[in-house]
């Protein structure tokens, strides 16, 4: 043990959830004698997110300009790299992810079995689990099909933002990380580069507060972008 673990929490206008999310991690640390460090990446929020972070002395980086999810998360990986963390976990600030499962997704890395772990909603079928909408599940399955096509590996939850990676992957990500649609693209990249990837089952909560901006044309645009990206990345040659 004795591994330094960092939770990277990207936050854009999360004034309603960020403190709750942070407190859940601190409480978990106290109860379980864990020591997960936290860095919140405030991606140019225009609401009270920054004030809440300062008032509560939460370790955070305030981006001087909005970068979007990819650029924000990458800032977290750069921070993890510069501060010599062994494991970095991507964790949503909107209450969708549950800190109880962090242990489960970092364990395969601590045991040295894999480099990259994806927290997946779809491995174990469970009616109580929040599996998101039908349309979204179909989209995720289509992405899954294309990832399998180019990498020969079946990934169930292709858009999960609940992921853990070891030092090697932290180094890869701090160097190069897609600005858009990072989850499916980095999954393909990591597999293509020959790293060990595994998926473990987690439960996710339905988003509390904030709103999911699901719009059908936007989704079609998203799907086209992701599929083309997967095919391009899948046909790159890494040494």
């Amino acid at each position: 043990m004795g591994m330094k673990i960092l939770l990277i929490i990207p936050a854009y206008n999360e004034e309603q959830n960020i403190l709750k999310t942070y407190n859940s991690i601190i409480n978990y640390n106290k109860k379980n004698k864990a020591n997960y460090d936290v860095v919140v990446i405030n991606d140019g929020s225009t609401d009270r997110t920054e004030e809440i972070l300062i008032e509560n002395k939460i370790n955070h980086i305030k981006l001087i300009n909005n970068l979007g999810i990819g650029g924000a998360v990458q800032t977290g990986y750069k921070y993890a790299y510069k501060n010599n963390y062994d494991i970095a976990v991507q964790f949503d600030g909107d209450g969708q992810h549950n800190v109880e499962y962090v242990k489960k997704i970092v364990n395969p890395i601590i045991e040295g079995k894999v480099n990259f772990v994806i927290g997946s909603r779809f491995i174990e079928k469970d009616k109580n689990n929040f599996n998101s909408t039908l349309a979204r599940r179909i989209g995720i399955n289509i992405i899954s099909f294309f990832i399998r096509l180019v990498s020969k590996k079946k990934i169930y939850d292709t858009t999960s933002g609940f992921r853990a990676c070891d030092r090697k992957i932290i180094e890869e990500f701090q160097q190069d990380y897609p600005l858009e649609y990072p989850e499916p693209i980095t999954t393909v990249e990591v597999i293509k580069k020959g790293y060990e990837v595994s998926e473990v089952s987690v439960k996710m909560n339905e988003r509390v507060g904030g709103k999911s901006s699901i719009h059908s044309w936007k989704n079609l645009y998203y799907m086209i972008n992701v599929i083309v990206s997967i095919i391009i990345v899948g046909n790159r040659r890494y040494k």
Binding site: I61, K62, L63, I64, L67, G71, Q74, T75, K78, L179
Partner: protein, 110 residues
């Protein structure tokens, strides 16, 4: 090609050239990026001065009229310029992202 059209082309060519040179003089564009505009204006001038050569070329290449070929050439040039610009903008976006990230990490108070 009618004399009116040829005069028009000469005017367009000169306007394009003058605009490019003015921008260069102000230092708002590196010479590297201006070359494509200067060559475009010279090409327009060439078409106005020796239309017979282009008319012959358009027949050989199978265009119905010479103007179709000219329009085709310029659409192609503009598409190429747009692609190059997209690459330049994407490269700059990467650099700006890196700058924002590094500056934000440096500004962080522990």
């Amino acid at each position: 090609m009618s004399i009116n059209l040829r005069l028009g082309l000469v005017a367009v060519s000169l306007i394009l050239l003058v605009i490019t040179l003015l921008i260069l003089k102000k230092g708002n564009m590196p010479v590297k990026y201006s070359l494509v505009w200067i060559f475009s204006s010279l090409l327009i001038l060439l078409i106005a001065l020796i239309p017979n050569v282009f008319s012959w070329l358009s027949t050989i290449l199978g265009f119905m009229t010479m103007s179709n070929m000219v329009i085709g050439i310029f659409i192609f040039i503009l598409l190429m310029i747009t692609i190059v610009l997209t690459v330049i903008v994407s490269g700059q976006r990467k650099k700006i992202t890196l700058l924002i990230q590094e500056v934000s990490i440096l500004k962080k108070r522990d």
